[in-house]
């Protein structure tokens, strides 16, 4: 449960009264139902439970009224009602976030965008599309099939995550190695700001002058307003694609191969790594043909014009063999390519078959430190007597160590948390950063001062306050709170017995 703040002096100006905040006044509910319709506002019961948490390990917070607006005007009405009743609001898409970014604190008005799921316009000539924030990432991809265009960001949760959520978290995915993360694919965004006004940042037709408020908004984790329409860049489908599966006798050789490929001036569309334990469970679960005796495999995809693609396949093969790869398999057809990717895309589902709980980390390190850091991750897991599996975006150094555990095992969470913290610190010590694509949310606020000075964090707060001077939007996320917010600090640690 997420207790409410009594007074947020350091990080905002919303004063709140705990008793008052725990009660959602009839007037607030009535106003929201008047604006959205009775069917579009829930309070209590199943909604209270469902919208109390996201896909992170954190326990549920305490949502206020849960609203399902269908238009920008209705979102603005939700924010207006929140202002009138001195309450915060939390935007939410599909709730697939892993850092606790959508967990409600302070009984906020929950603004769930899943009913705003229309693809409004596809402009193939100018290569952009206007979509509503609740459109599922994969639905957009499927909708575009046949146009010769696609939306490049492809997070692992793309079957269920929304474009609005991708914008909030500046999401990544395997193909962001060559194509860039979400921010590079958002041309404009219509936003209901925390003062309930509606602004458009950016322009779908090209660069605009002035401050890049679009760029500042993307990755704001719902703390800068609510995206209500998004103009996404559409990327031409590559004429040729080749997918390769390389296997290795040790993880270090696989990591060195990644560095050697990048160092040779080749930036594939994707380079994904899976270690032996992941290979083993994926094969047991879905049987895609990965070599089960390998210590690691790399999935490498190159795309572009045909000659360049063949050239890169040859160069990568040469480099990999010189580095010590055992075999190089190039998918012969679309079916084989799909099979190679199926194992990667379903890895998390397969891992859930091993033990009921896992804690997925997300840090980024310099690519050249992959071997050193992964070895330390294994050492850490061994020292804490934990099972660790690695399946990650090796091409851009984005690690995803999964600590696998049974939440019923006594005292396990202490070990999971201690090991997790050590992995984060190992990444920072190697010159890395806290998150590559999951965001900070509630999960990593406490680590922010390990990477940034007080002045650095104050500068980030200035950005936040430019959009949301009262910290009404999704409070207590991203930046570490001052001591007056200490009552929610226990949420920074997953409790005993939770699992994803």
């Amino acid at each position: 449960m997420c207790p409410t703040a009594t007074k947020v002096t350091h990080c905002g100006t919303i004063s709140s009264d705990q008793n008052r905040k725990n009660i959602v006044p009839d007037q607030l509910l009535a106003e929201l139902r008047e604006a959205l319709g009775v069917e579009s506002v829930s309070f209590g019961g199943a909604a209270q439970l469902l919208y109390s948490r996201d896909s992170s390990v954190f326990p549920g917070g305490q949502p206020g009224p849960v609203c399902f607006p269908e238009t920008t005007a209705q979102v603005a009405a939700c924010v207006q009602a929140a202002i009138k009743h001195d309450r915060s609001f939390v935007p939410r898409g599909a709730g697939t976030g892993l850092a606790g970014g959508a967990i409600p604190c302070d009984n906020p008005v929950m603004i769930v965008t899943t009913r705003m799921n229309k693809i409004l316009e596809v402009n193939a000539e100018k290569q952009f599309a206007w979509v509503e924030p609740g459109v599922i990432n994969l639905d957009l991809t499927n909708h575009l099939r046949g146009t010769g265009l696609h939306f490049a960001p492809d997070p692992s949760s793309q079957q269920s995550c929304t474009i609005g959520g991708n914008v909030a978290n500046n999401s990544g995915g395997p193909h962001c190695l060559a194509y860039g993360v979400t921010s590079a694919h958002i041309l404009a965004v219509e936003v209901v700001l925390p003062d309930a006004s509606v602004a458009i940042f950016g322009d779908p037709e090209g660069p605009t002058g002035g401050y890049d408020l679009r760029g500042a908004f993307v990755g704001g984790e719902g703390t800068l307003g609510v995206a209500t329409r998004v103009a996404v860049r559409l990327t031409p489908d590559p004429p040729a694609v080749r997918t390769m599966l390389l296997d290795f006798q040790d993880v270090g050789t696989a990591a060195d191969t990644v560095s050697a490929i990048i160092g040779a001036g080749i930036v594939p569309a994707a380079i994904e790594m899976m270690d032996q334990k992941v290979i083993e469970v994926v094969e047991k679960f879905i049987k895609v043909g990965y070599p089960q005796d390998a210590a690691a495999v790399l999935i490498i995809e190159v795309d572009g014009l045909a000659d360049g693609v063949e050239h890169e396949v040859e160069r990568i093969t040469e480099i990999a063999l010189a580095c010590g790869t055992r075999t190089v398999r190039v998918a012969a057809d679309e079916e084989e390519r799909a099979r190679i990717w199926k194992g990667r895309k379903n890895a998390f589902g397969a891992i859930a078959q091993v033990k009921p709980g896992y804690y997925l980390h997300d840090t980024v390190i310099p690519r050249t430190k992959l071997t050193e850091v992964i070895n330390k991750v294994y050492e850490t897991a061994e020292r804490y007597d934990l099972l660790v599996m690695n399946v990650f975006h090796a091409g851009d150094g984005n690690l995803h160590p999964l600590l696998i555990f049974d939440p019923q095992e006594e005292g396990i969470m202490d070990r999971v948390l201690a090991a997790g913290e050590e992995i984060v610190q190992t990444s920072l010590d190697a010159g890395g950063v806290l998150s590559g694509e999951h965001g900070i949310g509630l999960e990593k606020r406490r680590f922010m001062d390990r990477l940034f000075s007080e002045n650095d964090l104050a500068a980030q707060a200035k950005l936040r306050h430019s959009f949301d001077p009262d910290e009404r939007a999704n409070p207590h996320k991203v930046l570490p709170s001052g001591s007056s917010c200490a009552e929610i600090n226990h949420m920074d640690k997953p409790p005993e017995g939770t699992w994803v």
Partner: protein, 297 residues
Amino acid sequence: MNALEEFRQSVGPRGPVAVVGGRTRWQLGGSVDPQARLVAAPQGIEALDPSEMTVSLGAGTLLAALDEALAEHGQEVALDGPPGATVGGALAVGHDSLRRRRIGSARDVLLQADYVDAQGELIKAGGPTVKNVTGYDLCRLLVGSLGTLGFFGQVILRTRPRPEATRWLSGAASPQRFLTEIYRPATILWDGQQTAVCLEGYQEDVEKQAMKLHSLGLEMSGPLCPMVLPPHRQRLTEGPLKSGTIADVGSSVLYAPQPAEAPMIAPEVQRVVDRLRHQFDPEGRLNPGRNPQRMST
């Protein structure tokens, strides 16, 4: 004392101050208040790591010097500027390269910035890795802000592989079809009568694409842009092009002989901008007189 600390001290905490790069776009967004003290950012490449595809350098480094250093490793950065332009200046202006379609936006180049703020403090924004969502995206906010939120001191940039081959073609043909018939051309320019297309990539791919363009009516040109771009950028609008202008097709940018009028800013956006200026520089001491909101593209 290192160069960054010297730069910080030169900016100091008080009085109007302006940072000078190569003065190649010095009037963009308005003239600097003549009362402002002038300072210059550190120069020189600190670290170039080809296998990380990142480069760390002083913001006062000439773009040409950076390009030369990266060329030795077959790499480049997605920044452009006139001769004499500095890296810090190119970031502060934030204009995309003419080759944006192929190499991406200037706003995606900056990974980490150590900048001096209006209080004269050194602030770190972003991080050194090629992928990073740790906190708010100050880097993208700083790019294109004309130094009004802080002065770049040291920066870490994303590099990319240099294309193996570059070729321009031009001719009297309507440009629209080339957007779809050619896979990711680097540039398409249109002056109302002539189209010029830039192809980049592996030699064989470029040659094949060039042959296709040739069959569609364009003539081979060389490795350099065959059109002379007018000096100012305006917002491209629907309708026939005015004489003497060149459109960057598929973009919103029109190159014109005259500067653009300042665009209209919606009041909701302006409110955010006003708060931004107030938050980052309440006294308006950084680059006074310059305003990125006056730039139309």
